[in-house]
């Protein structure tokens, strides 16, 4: 109800399409002008270092121009001057909320060049880690969305879960954030003894807590609904045009998931659903993320049940020297499609590495859908896209 009234009000005040006051006469009569404003780069709600140049008409945004590059490290250039295995720790620093996915994507691209065979146990551990990472990324992103809307409790609950998943990662990989765990040809080390039971126990507990902490607490809340319903609304055509992938695309109803449509590792043997929603607004993206968390839990259980025994490292020499050619990979990171393109000239170092980071492509949305919204609506829209600074800046 609340949101409907608000919508009518906002349409009456301003043209939703342009964001400008509908009647230019009123503007001229009272001498109203638009105002330029900087949001960021040091802004708590900007998910890192992002500067938005906003043109405001009252409190309505007329133009939004993202300025990036505050965290740019030119990862691609550094990678050109390093040996193949030494690039893996750099990929950790790309999208630092999806480290495992970056490592996985890079290793898949190198293995595509090498035509290496990966032992089944290593594949299972890789996918297991990716799905845990997805939980450790989706749950905090729900928390961030709510934090930016002024609710403090969900971020505490979500970081409680993230901490526990990080404890698992610490036990498996030795690090809490920058893992360097997935290697060319397999993974660094086998799971420590008793780890499978520990993960199972944690996942069981999470499944029981999940609905209580992240759905019942948030979903029907009137303030949450009024701040997110019909905010950032977009059509599936628009979403595809803008090159969106991941939850922002699926919340418009387009049924696309790299894990199912371009299966890599062992995803084609696993059983999971692709979650979509038709509304295409911030609330829908929240529902999609909730659904994907539950699917990840389902995938982790399947993986633990069918985890085979055996080696965790394939027969790839210590010295990685792929033949001349190009290697490609495409994986589903929590934010969307993460693609790696490696060109080899037959030497120890890559000739060219290109990362297609989902945060970068998804952020183009800001230019398109923010105009016409109120200034405070930028926070939920950032929550819809959920970009990560290390990702868009490479």
């Amino acid at each position: 109800m609340l949101s409907e009234e608000r919508n009518i009000e906002s349409v009456a005040l301003s043209g939703r399409e342009t964001g400008r006051l509908t009647d230019p006469d009123i503007r001229d009569e009272f001498g109203l002008e638009t105002m330029d404003m900087n949001m960021g780069p040091q802004h708590p709600a900007m998910h890192g270092l992002l500067r938005l140049i906003l043109e405001l008409d009252g409190e309505t945004v007329v133009r939004c121009d993202p300025v990036m590059g505050y965290l740019h490290r030119c990862q691609e250039k550094i990678a050109e001057n390093r040996m193949y295995p030494a690039v893996i720790p750099l990929t950790d620093r790309l999208d630092y909320f999806a480290n495992m996915h970056n490592e996985h994507g890079y290793c898949l691209a190198v293995e595509d060049l090498l035509e290496a065979e990966i032992p089944p146990r290593a594949e299972h551990i890789r996918v297991l880690m990716s799905e845990l990472m997805r939980l450790a990324s989706h749950i905090p992103s729900i928390g961030f969305l709510l934090l930016e809307l002024g609710a403090f409790t969900p971020i505490l609950y979500s970081f409680r879960e993230r901490e526990r998943i990080q404890n698992i990662f610490e036990a498996v990989t030795g690090a809490r954030m920058m893992y360097h765990y997935i290697r060319i040809g397999g993974v660094k080390a086998d799971l420590p003894p008793g780890m499978e039971d520990q993960i199972w126990e944690y996942i069981e507990g999470l499944e029981q807590r999940f609905t209580r902490d992240f759905v019942d607490l948030i979903a029907g809340n009137e303030i949450f609904v009024s701040r997110t319903r019909d905010i950032g609304k977009m059509s599936p055509e628009k979403a595809l045009e803008m090159g969106l992938t991941g939850p922002p695309l699926r919340c418009t109803g387009v049924d696309f998931d790299v894990r199912r449509d371009y299966p890599y590792s062992i995803y084609d043997e696993l059983d999971f659903d692709v979650i979509t929603d038709d509304a295409g607004d911030v609330e829908a993206s929240y529902r999609v993320r909730i659904g994907e968390c539950l699917q990840s839990i389902r995938l982790i259980k399947q993986l633990l049940e069918r985890m085979p025994e055996g080696e965790v490292m394939g027969k790839v020499g210590r010295r990685v020297r792929p033949p001349e050619g190009e290697g490609f990979s495409r994986i589903e990171s929590p934010r969307g499609e993460f693609a790696v393109h490696i060109v080899s000239d037959g030497s120890d170092t890559p000739y060219r590495v290109h990362y297609r980071d989902p945060s970068f492509a998804n952020m183009q949305l800001l230019q398109e859908i923010v105009p016409g919204h109120y200034l405070p609506d930028i926070m939920p829209i950032m929550g819809l896209i959920d970009p990560v600074s290390g990702g868009w800046d490479k």
Binding site: E76, L240, G243, D255, H341, H354
Partner: protein, 163 residues
């Protein structure tokens, strides 16, 4: 759902794409490898080929645009996906030190930032691009394109020419 994604078996679809491209354009090379249709086209033909891909063959997603500096020529790759298992990889080779190629932003609006990135990193000029600014590097006082092979990693050189 209003958007129609391609249907049918993957092999048939790839054949259809390949035929579609071959019938409409003079291609330098074209083949199907795995789930990918690989095309090598002349730089002038890129917008036309991508228009065919989107409007007639229904390949709706442009994944990324990337450039490889081959010291003297530039390879520009457009990675397209039909979102149902098929990929189309369009490659064009531009000769010369200062490459120019037509933009595809009017076909795939998402190419906007990918082309800006390519311009920033390689100095590839996309003719007709609506907003060709640098994405990452300083807009002023920085005349280099860092991913060119001629750009060496060297601190002094990086800050040369800054105020």
């Amino acid at each position: 759902m209003a958007v129609r994604l391609p249907e049918g078996a993957l092999e048939d679809r790839l054949e259809r794409y390949l035929e579609g491209f071959r019938n409409r354009h003079g291609l330098e090379e074209s083949e199907v490898v795995g789930n990918t249709v690989r095309l090598l086209v002349s730089p002038e033909a890129v917008p036309a080929v991508l228009t065919t891909a989107r409007e007639e063959l229904g390949v709706l997603h442009l994944s990324y645009v990337t450039v490889v500096d081959r010291m003297g020529s530039f390879e520009i790759t457009y990675e397209l996906a039909d979102l149902r298992g098929g990929q189309v990889r369009v490659k064009a080779v531009v000769e010369g030190e200062e490459p120019v190629i037509g933009t595809v932003t009017h076909i795939y609006p998402t190419a906007n930032w990918h082309e800006r990135e390519a311009y920033d990193m390689f100095g590839v000029a996309f003719a007709g691009h609506p907003d060709l600014r640098r994405v990452y590097m300083w807009q002023d006082h920085f005349d280099h394109h860092p991913l060119l092979k001629s750009f060496e990693i060297n601190t002094r050189r990086t800050f040369e020419g800054l105020r």
